[in-house]
Amino acid sequence: MEPIKQIRSRTAVLPYTNIDTDQIIPARFLTTTSRAGLGASLFADWRYDEQGTPKADFPLNQSATQGCRVLVAGRNIGCGSSREHAPWALLDYGFQAVISTEIADIFRNNSLKNGLLPVVVDEATATWLLANPGVEVTIDLESGTLGLPDGKKVPFPLEGFARYCLMNGVDELGFLLSRDAAISTYEKAHA
């Protein structure tokens, strides 16, 4: 995984609460055995009509959101299915961070493991971001802050170990494998 220190981008906004992972990537795209190319199916049923034509009123189909790497969503994004295809699809599309007041547990975990940054902010910040699509924000991992256009820096929680892994491009499997002796001891004691 590439180390991430800072993300600076305009925001794309999806002003819906409880965006579940079935919306992020519908189940019919899960019969794949790879993780490549899922960005094309991101939000498929919101993005395209029955003929496969992009719907003009969906934010990701509008020119203003092209190239945006930060997604702002209503409360509780990522609820539902544990499919890791959801962060894979968001990353493949080009997003690097998701901002909301609440991010569902499994989706948050899966995101961290793939370098998609989950940013949980307070209600007032989220309300402002939802009402002002396209603003430039700076997400800084070192300080754990979200920088807004007026210069304000809003702190967001990021578990220390996850931050360390993201900033140094460390993958957790390597860390777990290095605990092999402790795991063997545990297995002997509990055989």
């Binding site: 002003p15 819906y16 609460t17 409880n18 579940d20 079935d22 919306q23 519908p26 189940a27 019919r28 899960l30 019969t31 794949t32 055995t33 790879s34 993780r35 049923d45 029955e50 209503g74 409360r75 509780n76 609820c79 539902g80 299915s81 544990s82 499919r83 890791e84 609440e102 569902a104 547990d105 499994i106 975990n109 899966n110 493991k113 793939n114 578990e159 220390g160 170990f161 360390y164 957790e172 499997l173 860390f175 777990l176 494998l177 605990r179 092999d180 402790a182 795991i183 545990y186 297995e187 509990h190």
Partner: protein, 466 residues
């Protein structure tokens, strides 16, 4: 004084958590299926790793598999080629890495969350994970069970461990007892309606109280299954004599002196009286009614006797109702429907099929309604057939299928059509969950079967008592 969660957690800490690092948590049982594992096995191959404990890993196939008998047993090709490929990939992965697999034609195969308990692999005090959010189901046995992503599936395959921060605890007490005609599905839908779809985020729920203790194992699994629909990491119910009686009959539970030893240990698991939970609420079981969803997440739920809520200046609510084609303020009863689905890891067990059959007996599925009954596993299917339930379904005009996830997720071609209303015993009414444009109303097997008979949303008590 400890909660059951604390006891199980502490037993599985290989390395306890610190301020800097999460705990290394040992996993006793890793269940796998075809959809969320291919990329994890790819990772293992890339890094030259083995499965550390094939003996603690157990595979089934359920999501992408067909339910038509001729496709399962008759060699007729799958409807979706990529689904067939995914199933083949699981066979290859299990063979290459030495993992036991219930293959397509295996007589014990079924939905992963039905198979684990049925085999007796799910046991009190164990840690159980699966790349599937409804792993919470296994908490019905007092196992700490939760869903993980594919990267974590890779971690468990390679190390039998996960890195985890300790979640908080949440006690949900359901006092009194459920009224007749009210089921475990109604209980969990009422709970989700009460706390909301993110009400359990970050926590492990322990369901307690007399109404919970009175539930059978099949019913407890229905409750724990939908913990994730409240956003919780896991759901737990204390093991008791009901649990032990169920386990004793399963093929892979401990036997002989191992059983005696296990039983003594399992009896120490329930939360100590006076143990503190981070959060606690109580619902009155007497007041729970048959419930049904009207919107596009499981928290949008009302009694079958209720009306769709009216909300002003809420565009997300309006969007959900527009998708569902329902009006604010309309009674949900008598809403015409097109499809009824009985099945899934929520309500695809024998007692669920019995409940549906008890309503259907002597009736016909209303004309124009399609009813699909999909047992949760092949053993459930055979047990139902031994009781003649299959005949009740087919004589009423329903389709009787081989086991699998089927119309719960629609990955195998079993779909609800665009704009159609489906009363489903599954767990998710998200947009498009049962097929593009499908409109799902989640309910119990009783409500679903009664609605099939009348072709409209119906309180089963009208048919059972009338």
């Amino acid at each position: 004084m400890k909660t059951m969660f604390q006891k199980i957690w502490e037993r599985h800490e290989v390395v306890p958590e610190t301020a800097d690092t999460p705990a290394v948590l040992y996993i006793d049982l890793h269940l796998i299926h075809e959809v969320t594992t291919p990329q994890a096995f790819t990772l293992l191959r890339e890094r030259g790793l083995k499965v550390r404990r094939p003996d603690r890993t157990f595979a089934t196939m359920d999501h992408s598999t067909p339910t038509r008998t001729e496709q399962v047993f008759g060699g007729v090709p799958f409807s979706i080629e990529s689904a067939a490929k995914q199933v083949r990939q699981l066979e290859i992965n299990c063979r290459d890495f030495g993992v036991e697999l219930l293959h397509l034609q295996h007589d014990q195969r079924g939905i992963v969350h039905i198979v684990g308990p049925e085999q007796g692999l799910t046991q009190p005090g164990k840690t159980v994970v699966c790349g599937d959010s409804h792993t919470s189901t296994h908490g019905a046995f007092g196992a700490l069970a939760f869903g993980i992503g594919t990267t974590e599936v890779g971690h468990v395959l390679a190390t039998q461990c996960l890195l985890q921060r300790r979640p908080s605890t949440f006690a949900i007490n359901v006092s009194g007892k459920l009224a007749s005609g009210v089921s475990a599905k109604d209980m969990i839908l009422a709970i989700i309606g009460e706390i909301g779809v993110s009400g359990g985020t970050g926590s492990v729920i322990e369901y307690r109280g007399s109404a919970v203790q009175a539930l059978s194992m099949d019913e407890r699994m229905t409750v724990c299954n939908m913990s994730i629909e409240a956003g919780a990491r896991a759901g737990l119910i204390a093991p008791d004599d009901t649990t032990f009686a169920y386990l004793e009959r399963t093929p892979r539970a401990p036997k002989g002196s191992d059983w005696t030893r296990a039983l003594a240990d399992w009896r120490t698991l329930p939360s100590d009286s006076g143990a503190k939970f981070d959060r606690e609420i109580t619902l009155d079981g007497h007041h729970i009614e048959p419930m049904i969803t009207y919107g596009t997440h499981p928290g949008m739920v009302i009694p079958v006797s209720g009306t769709v809520p009216v909300k002003r200046n809420d565009p997300v609510f309006d969007k959900a109702l527009a998708y569902m084609g329902l009006q604010p303020g309309q009674p949900i009863r008598e809403q015409p429907i097109n499809v009824v689905f009985i099945g899934s890891c929520t309500n695809g067990r024998l007692e669920d099929l019995r409940a549906a059959a008890s309503v259907l007996r002597g009736h016909k599925v209303a004309s124009g309604v399609r009813m699909l009954v999909v047992p949760g596993s092949q053993p459930v299917k055979r047990a139902a057939e031994a009781e003649g339930l299959d005949r009740i379904f087919t004589e009423a005009g329903a389709e009787w299928r081989e086991s699998g996830c089927s119309m719960c997720i629609g990955m195998n071609g079993d779909n609800v059509g665009r704009g159609q209303y489906s009363v489903s015993t599954s767990n998710r009414n998200f947009e498009g969950r049962q097929g593009q444009g499908a409109r799902t109303l989640l309910a119990s097997p009783l409500t679903a079967a009664a609605s099939a008979v009348r072709g409209r949303v119906t309180d089963a008590r009208e048919l059972l008592n009338g």
